[in-house]
Symmetry: C2
Subunit: 245 residues, 2 copies
DNA sequence: GGTTTTGATTTGTGATCACACTTGCTTTGA
DNA sequence: TCAAAGCAAGTGTGATCACAAATCAAAACC
């Protein structure tokens, strides 16, 4: 009965070894596709094939088809009547629709978070703000991927504080759906000249710091509206071009 | 070159034959599981196995596992660390969380619908109200399944008018998540004596008829709050019981 | 020459198998 | 007597195969 000794031994082992995790291949495929979608690696209307992705990800078709199915149910991808799957095309209605839904739900999440964040959590997002300036000062823009990742962390760090296990997955789904749209807007942005994204984030943090839920909601809506509005204008003028041609 | 003749022939055929559809087995499994979930055929915390469901549905495991994966991503089911899957258990926090999300999103949807419904659509949901009374008068209650189905049709008939392709799938996901909870509340309801659900629906329709978005939202929130509040009380007293025992 | 038909290739779907992990029970050993 | 080891049934995951539907290109046809 050396129970205590064994227990102690296990503890030292646990301290030395790093957990190897139990992620399935399907989970990795799913995460990777999510990352690609939010990061805008796929273009709107692009068709994806199971075997093509399986080859690219160096797995068999099985994990890929299940991951695709999951992405289709959360509307991150679209199943065509041909049974092929593509990333949803951009339309004016869809842009307005996504913006409205995001304003509603992310606005609610941040309003909740504003009343629940403790000083520790506020300091954490404030620190991200600083990290941001740093990156922005170092290399003046063009590191779009890094900036997008940081932006995502910033938002979800806040949303996590809303304490709702129901709202957060919905927000993730919305980001997944708007990812491809946003990305084309961002690229157009960086060509059209820099914009002051930092300003919006600063006013969000300020509102959170003084627990002003309505101000936080307002600042957030302004923040997420910007790329959508830009994309909207771009699409409208493009459709006018098309009409003229 | 009898193109026109062939075309005409095809048209007459199309008029005589009813479309057989192209639904896959996986789609049918998914729909069936959705129906079961919303209808409350599965109990909260119940564990589901792939092979068990495949046997019950008389298919192979393949369509079932893909359908389960989809239901897990929309939080209608829950993946345990053991890799087994169960319908999510009911907790107080989850009840409040679901009610808040549903009030927010379905409230927004009905507010949008209120400004967009045409007389034809309003007449349609009004007719459902009548159908309801009819059923209710014929066999006084106890036909819970029929009533739940009618309730679902009533709500989604309205939501469809909001014109948002983004909000509606989210609402479906929320119904899927709250299905098992609601069902235990409904059963408890029908034991605890009848309640006037018709009253709420009537005031919803009245608000819609006069295009009063805020009144519609308020009436809807009152409607969906009722079973949640009931369940909440039931759970609280039960936990007190458990504490005492 | 333009349209239809045919055939080859690609793709999604469902079934089945192999393997690893979990779980519950029995057996073993102190 | 009771905890630990061992065993057996059950379960999820990934790979592979068979098949039907879709796609595309060349060939045949009027």
């Amino acid at each position: 009965m050396q129970k205590a000794a064994i227990e102690r031994n296990n503890e030292t082992l646990a301290a030395q070894l790093t957990p190897v995790g139990r992620e399935t291949v399907q989970d990795r495929v799913y995460s990777e596709l999510r990352r690609a979608l939010i990061g805008g690696l796929f273009e709107p209307s692009q068709v994806l094939t199971i075997r093509g992705l399986a080859d690219a990800l160096v797995t068999s078709t099985m994990p890929v088809r299940e991951a695709l199915g999951r992405l289709i149910t959360e509307k991150a991808l679209e199943a065509l009547p041909n049974r092929s799957v593509r990333v949803p095309p951009i339309t004016l209605e869809r842009i307005d629709d996504l913006l409205r839904a995001r304003s509603l739900i992310e606005g609610e999440a941040i309003a909740l978070a504003a009343t629940r964040m403790n000083p520790r959590q506020i300091a954490s997002v404030e620190a991200m703000l600083g990290e941001w300036d740093e990156m922005r000062a170092l290399k003046h823009k063009k590191d779009i991927d890094r900036e997008a990742t940081l932006n995502q962390s910033f938002h979800f760090e806040i949303y996590r504080c809303c304490g709702s296990a129901v709202l957060i997955p919905m927000i993730e789904s919305l980001w997944l759906q708007s990812g491809p749209c946003i990305r084309v807007a961002i690229y157009a942005f960086s060509d059209a000249g820099e914009v002051d994204t930092a300003h919006y984030h600063r006013s969000i943090v300020a509102a959170l710091a003084r627990q002003d839920a309505q101000a936080a909601r307002k600042a957030l809506v302004a923040d997420i509206s910007r790329p959508f509005a830009f994309l909207r204008d771009k699409l409208q003028s493009a459709s006018k071009e098309g009409l003229r041609a």
